[in-house]
Symmetry: C2
Subunit: 204 residues, 2 copies
């Protein structure tokens, strides 16, 4: 939908161009599939615009590698080699954040999660990326590992033109409130329901 028309013209003192250029905070929530897949799809789109992409997977045990990581990192290499698209960084918890000297532990997820968020905050302050994908990020607040007020303040006050897409079930109401775009991926039907296990190429 390249020519989406707004339903209302807001009285916010901004020109259409200024309004169009406001960076978005996007939330994919709900119990259905497609939350992360769609967020990585946005990364693909951003790469094509030459954006700097930073993916942060806040998953407990991310020792496995999903197809999107391989492809997006390959696209990042392509950028370095040919100048096409933009740079890509992909970081994940679980195996220990790549910038950290400490190996990941299976026990202290809270500390690892807090460390990941602290790094994202630093990068937002320094305007490191154009698009941040914070995958499975909602759980950190749900479990009390990071503070939702801190997240709200950081995201609403982030400088410049930085897009943020976050995924995870049960997004906090405070996040939905400050988000520009929220989609609930609702589970209607899944092969697991009838006893089919996850499939290569589909689940990972």
């Amino acid at each position: 939908m390249p020519q989406g028309q707004p339903l209302v013209v807001p009285d916010d003192g901004l020109t259409t161009r200024q309004r169009r250029n406001q960076p978005l905070l996007m939330v994919h929530t709900g119990d259905g599939k497609g939350k992360s897949t769609a967020a990585f799809g946005l990364a693909l789109r951003g790469w094509n615009q030459g954006w700097s992409i930073g993916v942060f997977q806040f998953v407990k045990s991310a020792k496995w590698r999903i197809g999107e990581q391989t492809v997006l990192e390959r696209l990042g290499e392509l950028h370095e080699q040919t100048g096409e698209g933009g740079p890509v960084e992909w970081h994940k918890m679980g195996s220990g954040w790549s910038w950290s000297r400490k190996p990941g532990t299976e026990t202290d997820h809270a500390a690892e999660a807090a460390e990941g968020w602290a790094e994202v905050k630093r990068r937002l302050a320094e305007q490191t990326h154009d698009l941040y994908v914070l995958d499975e990020f909602t759980y950190l607040m749900e479990r009390g590992w990071i503070d939702v007020d801190d997240v709200v303040t950081t995201l609403t006050q982030r400088p410049g033109r930085q897009y943020v897409a976050m995924t995870g079930r049960r997004a906090a109401p405070e996040l939905v409130e400050i988000a520009d775009l929220v989609t609930e991926m609702r589970h209607v039907k899944h092969p697991f329901d009838r006893g089919q296990k996850g499939q290569r190429g589909i689940e990972w």
Copy 2:
């Protein structure tokens, strides 16, 4: 979720392996964003597995080119050059299907849609691709341009191991019935609501 555990073990006479290898029919429906983005994300994942990807965009006016097309076609080139991933074909209605000698018309969408579906049927019979993305496909049935019974019969009887992902609002109940995986992308909040227009890198 690489190690999804089934909730029930079905009494269908199949082994876990046989069941796991059943190709899926996936439907992304609902009024929210992310339906197509998640389907193209699946294409990314499939490419990484070396699958042959066929994308068919059934949109009225697809003269514009979305970022995913550029990137997935680039990945298809990479496959030809280096053997990485799989081959990619991207076809779209609106500007006239690429296999057709007839230019697209702005008037006869019904005929163009039917022609696109006929080609997808031929390819399914010949097992041309491993993953078919049928983007905005539900509208064709809604508008009566193609017959839902024909689609149901074709998809349920497709040979071999061919995955199909289709997108579009208001998927017919018959499609939901035969689908293996259905996600409803529910609109919660969108920048259009408050007068913000579509953005480069986000909407296309």
